[in-house]
């Protein structure tokens, strides 16, 4: 398998998997999750079975003498809103990895080797999945604060993104990354062809009197090279959670200030995940009719595209109305920059019948490309999902 990025169709929500194929090892990085119970199985053709696909993508290993336990090397939470964390409680294992039991595997609970999160996990959760996530993060943080001998075991590892003044996180700088950092070590393994440039959140945002949860989303650039010795990046993908135009303004200014736009190509992108599910908040404050002009910094950020770049809106179908998100006027702004054919929507771009399909990009030396078109065959059989099987046949 070549390295790839997969954007799942989860309506207004985010879930992506970055898979890095290096040597004989594939590192999987899950960015946010949005697993609806109603999407499992084949009962609702309008929903893609995200969990089933995730289980097929993730690798499996023996844990506590239990074979075939699914695991992700890394889970990055951009922020704790429900649409970025839906299904965490039911689908991911939480607790001491030494206590993973057969019943957890029977429930397809996924082990997270390394948890990446911002200091926001120490704050108040606003939904049940976030409560569980924060609890798990705090469990791992405590191991690291206690310098517990198990702290570096898979299932206990952490990376904190950003720095605030929280004393409970003091003394954890060894497992902390801040804006401007380039990460090359993932789940206790150094990678030579992949890195992550951390853009956000900045300390001043995290220490605001009233912290805006979207504004402090983890923003990062995923960077691929064809080989360890290559000087150029062959794929650059920007992930920004629900970061708004003010967050992007700071990102743009700080990156340029420290010349990371040129030294690190940290603002350049081939793939840009439209923040907040193609919301107008990327371009300006809402409502759009009161703030109809995109701010210059957001537009400038889009001008860092290279070649035939693509914008991916992880949202519902974008209709020409005033809904937000997704917002039609926001889409128009993106389309102005990349052309209509390069603006992709997880709800509509790839469909199999009524079921939306993930948008996948394979990493090639010439940039990220969608996979080859699949060939058919001269032979075929009807699958259990074939539409006519669910319909009454009538004959005259």
């Amino acid at each position: 398998m070549s390295s790839q990025i997969k954007y799942y169709p989860v309506d207004n929500g985010d879930q992506s998997v970055i898979s890095i194929d290096e040597g004989n090892y594939t590192t999987n990085i899950l960015v946010d999750c949005n697993i609806r119970e109603s999407s499992k199985g084949t009962s609702d053709p309008s929903q893609y079975d995200v969990k089933a696909d995730l289980l097929s993508v993730l690798k499996k290993r023996k844990v506590n003498d239990i074979d075939n336990v699914p695991y992700t090397d890394i889970f990055i939470l951009t922020h704790g809103d429900e649409d970025h964390l839906l299904g965490f409680e039911k689908n991911f294992y939480q607790g001491d990895p030494k206590n993973y039991k057969k019943k957890n595997n029977d429930n397809d609970e996924i082990v997270i080797d390394t948890l990446w999160f911002s200091p926001m996990v120490m704050g108040t959760a606003t939904n049940d999945d976030e409560k569980c996530f924060n609890k798990e993060a705090k469990r791992r943080i405590q191991l690291h604060r206690d310098k517990n001998s198990d702290k570096d075991l898979p299932g206990n590892r952490i990376v904190i993104i950003g720095k605030d003044m929280n004393e409970d996180l003091s003394g954890l700088d060894l497992v902390r990354k801040v804006p401007g950092d380039v990460v090359t070590r993932f789940n206790d393994r150094d990678l030579k062809t992949f890195s992550i440039f951390i853009h956000s959140p900045y300390q001043e945002q995290l220490t605001d009197e009233e912290v805006d949860k979207n504004r402090v989303s983890v923003v990062f650039q995923a960077r691929f090279k064809t080989s360890a010795t290559s000087n150029d990046f062959c794929a650059l993908a920007m992930f920004g959670g629900d970061a708004d135009h003010q967050a992007w303004k700071i990102i743009l200014e700080k990156t340029k200030k420290y010349k990371n736009d040129t030294k690190q190509q940290a603002l350049t992108w081939d793939l840009f995940m439209a923040p907040h599910h193609c919301s107008w908040t990327y371009f300006n404050d809402c409502p759009q009719k009161d703030n109809p002009d995109p701010v210059a910094t957001s537009l400038e950020m889009l001008d860092y595209k290279r070649g035939v770049a693509k914008v991916i809106a992880s949202s519902k179908e974008i209709k020409n109305n005033d809904d937000n998100p997704p917002h039609y006027k926001a889409k128009e702004q993106y389309v102005k920059k990349v052309k209509d054919e390069n603006f992709l929507n997880t709800a509509t771009t790839k469909k199999n019948g009524k079921t939306p399909q993930p948008i996948i990009f394979e990493v090639t030396a010439q940039g990220p490309m969608q996979p080859k078109q699949k060939e058919g065959s001269a032979k075929n059989t009807g699958a259990s999902t074939v539409g006519t099987l669910g319909q009454v046949s009538s004959y005259g």
Partner: protein, 767 residues
């Protein structure tokens, strides 16, 4: 500017399309492309051409190495009017300016034709048998996408070699040999860029020539090689037959610069002028070679092979070096030769390359290599030859074939050898078969076949081979050799002995592997296999059938000699057993160590053609000699001695006893004990005596006789001396005397075999 399209030169197809499959596919193509009508052109009298525009998914950062591949590519599908869909379509680029010289996976273009896409590894026709025309469209689009993204090559770190098609004949040589020659610049003369070589033409007279590299000729052996060449020509002329070998002198040509080239140059030359142009594109000078050939009067045949070496920037996929060979032969007549070169533009043809088969390649292709480190095959009959041939084909080396029989016409019915070996010694013919399979000079190391019996090996005639022997396979089906083999043999303690036979009228294949230091031995394994009648219906049924057919003879033919024409046995049955044996032997040869003996059974039910296999592990036997006569050896199945001791312990302080089940071999003076029967209920015992009763005993022995097909039965008596003595008592001696008198009345008398078990000793007596 007008587009440069090849199809613009093609005329519309005016004929009728009678081929229904073709009509359907054209309809499907029309639907798939969303066109109201598709253009049908005439490619040649047998093919139509369909020009299509395909949308190509181009990479976002531009095409690989700025190749001129476009978002919309023009291609031509070429379909056979009569043979479609059995013959798959070919697809050519329609663009005359397609960047063909920069791309792998394009076939060499025929003159003035655009190159065809190499769109599948292997056979187009096989692939297309499972596909529709729309799948081919998708595949071509993906081909173009991959070319644009620079991922056409399966391994980006290696160089994808040229795709050849439309070649004329083949040339066989070892790539590594020629690549080494190029890298070492071993030219015929100092500072030149070509080497002289002797090629054998292996093609039939009516076919295009196909060459096999015989040897590279250096100036040192030029005279000798040329004499050989002349001798072969003379022989050819004298015999006026092409059954003798035809040798051609040929050349290997390379560039004396270190420049490397990545262009593909898919327009291969068809004449000498084009050849020179082709070579110059890769900095390969042709003038010295042309002058040498023109001035060299030794060429008897018109065809002269020239293997041309192109230096590539990376190692070639599937090869060990960065040298790519393109193989040509020229047709040169005397009148084409001038003083310094050729005066006419002579024809040039290109050839496909084949690697010679080597044992290592055979191992690689087999995927299940077997290393014996010295193996002797005794008996090269039907079964032996087939098993041996499996190993030869697997690339096994260090094999010795022994058989003193010659191949008779009727042997061909079920022998691995073919009619050309008729009259030849079977072992020697097998060796020759191996040698002709691996003609790269390694055959001599791989196999040896001698017209000798296995006894010659055991008697020390082949001491050097015996010293390095690790395996001995007996496929003789010979009782005589079996008896020889079980006798104590010198210098075979390190050898694992294996015997394979077919029994039960061809239904049963039996493969025996001796244990470490020959315990269990093959005779042990055979007896213990019979003793398994108790646990296995497979064995019991077989033994009963054999007994019925043996007319109450106690001698069971375990192993049908297949060399007799009176034996009715089909070749496929023998092959089935041989294939199983080969697989089992390979598995055994892969083991790093072993202790126990092993038995493998392969039963074919000729009724419903079910095949059943069975595997038994046999631990070493207790081996002892008779106290009174050390020429007798007693071999007792593991567990029997423990059973006697246990019974002795249970019934202490009284003595106890019973009888043994087993068999005796007077030739080897061996008694095998496979089981015991405890004291019948009417037995009597005290601290000093045991009186073995008879209640139920004859019936029990009769059951053993019947169920084992008379292979096993009563073989002797045992009793305990829980408090000693460690010797026979007077009562024991009297019993022996009484038994001896009775046994001697039989036509084949049993020896009187008496065993005494004591807390410290096992005392066996044979009279």
């Amino acid at each position: 500017m007008a587009k440069k399209l090849f199809s613009s030169k093609l005329l519309p197809f005016e004929g009728e399309i009678d081929n229904g499959s073709l009509r359907e596919s054209l309809y499907l193509l029309k639907q798939f492309t969303g066109k109201r009508k598709i253009k049908i052109l005439s490619w040649d009298k047998d093919h139509i051409a369909i020009p299509l525009k395909l949308a190509v998914d181009l990479p976002p950062l531009g095409t690989f190495e700025e190749l001129d591949i476009r978002e919309e590519e023009e291609v031509v599908f070429v379909l056979s009017l009569t043979d479609y869909p059995t013959v798959a379509p070919k697809v050519h680029t329609d663009r005359l300016d397609f960047p063909k010289n920069h791309l792998a996976h394009l076939y060499i273009a025929k003159k003035d034709m655009p190159p065809a896409f190499c769109y599948v590894r292997g056979s187009y026709n096989e692939w297309y048998a499972g596909k529709r025309i729309t799948d081919l469209v998708v595949r071509i689009k993906n081909w173009l996408r991959d070319a644009a993204a620079g991922v056409l090559a399966e391994d980006g770190d290696q160089f994808d070699p040229l795709r050849l098609e439309g070649y004329r004949g083949t040339v066989i040589y070892s790539y590594d040999t020629l690549a080494k020659l190029i890298l070492e610049k071993r030219s015929l003369y100092a500072n030149s860029n070509f080497a002289l070589a002797l090629f054998e033409n292996t093609a039939k007279d009516e076919d295009f020539p196909s060459f096999r590299l015989e040897k590279i000729i250096s100036t040192d052996d030029l005279q000798e090689s040329l004499q050989k060449y002349i001798a072969s020509i003379k022989e050819l002329l004298e015999k006026k037959t092409f059954k003798v070998k035809k040798y051609h002198l040929g050349y290997i040509l390379w560039s004396d610069t270190e420049n490397t080239y990545k262009d593909y140059c898919v327009d291969l030359p068809r004449n000498w002028i084009d050849f020179k142009r082709f070579c110059s594109e890769f900095s390969i000078a042709t003038a010295p070679l042309e002058e040498f050939i023109a001035g060299f009067s030794m060429n008897f045949f018109l065809e002269i092979p020239i293997v041309t070496a192109i230096k590539r920037p990376k190692q070639l996929i599937g090869f060990s070096s960065f040298v790519e060979f393109v193989n040509f032969y020229i047709e040169l007549k005397d009148e084409d030769k001038g003083e310094k070169g050729f005066v006419n533009n002579i024809p040039v043809h290109f050839q496909a390359h084949n690697e010679p088969l080597t044992t290592s390649k055979a191992q690689m292709i087999s995927g299940d290599p077997v290393k014996f480190n010295g193996a002797a095959f005794i008996g090269c009959g039907a079964l032996g030859s087939k098993v041996a041939m499996h190993f030869i084909r697997s690339g096994a080396k260090d094999l010795l074939f022994l058989d003193n029989d010659k191949l008779s016409p009727h042997n061909l019915v079920r022998h691995a050898l073919m009619p050309e070996s008729e009259g030849a010694n079977k072992a020697v013919a097998l060796m020759n078969a191996a040698a002709s399979m691996f003609r790269n000079g390694e055959a001599e190391d791989a196999t040896l076949g001698l017209p000798l019996s296995g006894k010659a090996l055991l008697d020390g005639m082949l001491a050097a081979f015996k010293k390095n022997l690790h395996w001995l396979f007996d496929f003789t089906a010979s009782e005589s050799f079996f008896q020889t083999l079980i006798l104590p043999q010198k210098d075979v303690g390190h050898v694992r002995i294996c015997r394979g036979n077919i029994s039960d009228h061809g239904n049963m294949g039996v493969l025996l592997f001796e244990g470490i230091v020959r315990n269990p031995r093959i005779d042990d394994l055979q007896v213990l296999l019979f003793s398994n009648y108790k646990n296995s219906d497979l064995v019991s049924g077989w033994l009963k059938r054999e007994a019925e057919h043996a007319n109450e003879s106690v001698h069971l033919m375990v192993g049908v000699g297949c060399n007799s024409e009176t034996i009715i046995l089909a070749d496929d049955i023998v092959s089935s057993h041989a294939a199983y044996f080969s697989m089992v032997i390979k598995r055994q040869a892969q083991k790093s160590s072993f202790t126990d003996g092993e038995i493998y059974l392969h039963q074919i039910d000729k009724g419903d053609l079910n095949i059943t296999t069975s595997h038994l592990t046999i631990p070493p036997l207790v081996v002892t000699q008779a106290v009174n006569d050390s020429s007798w050896e007693i071999r007792i199945k593991a567990g029997v001695v423990e059973a006697m001791k246990s019974e002795m312990g249970l019934l202490m302080p009284h003595e106890t006893g019973g009888i043994f089940i087993g068999t005796v071999n007077y030739k080897s003076k061996t008694i095998h004990v496979v089981d015991l029967i405890y004291a019948p209920p009417d037995s009597q015992a005290n601290c000093a005596c045991f009186f073995r009763g008879i209640d139920g005993l004859p019936e029990k022995v009769k059951d053993v006789n019947i169920d084992s097909g008379n292979q096993l039965g009563y073989i002797g008596e045992w009793h305990s001396h829980p408090f000693g003595p460690n010797s026979m008592s007077t009562v024991d001696a009297n019993t022996v005397k009484r038994f001896k008198e009775e046994f001697e009345k039989s036509q084949t008398p049993l020896p009187v075999f008496l065993t005494i078990i004591t807390p410290t000793n096992l005392l066996c007596y044979v009279y």
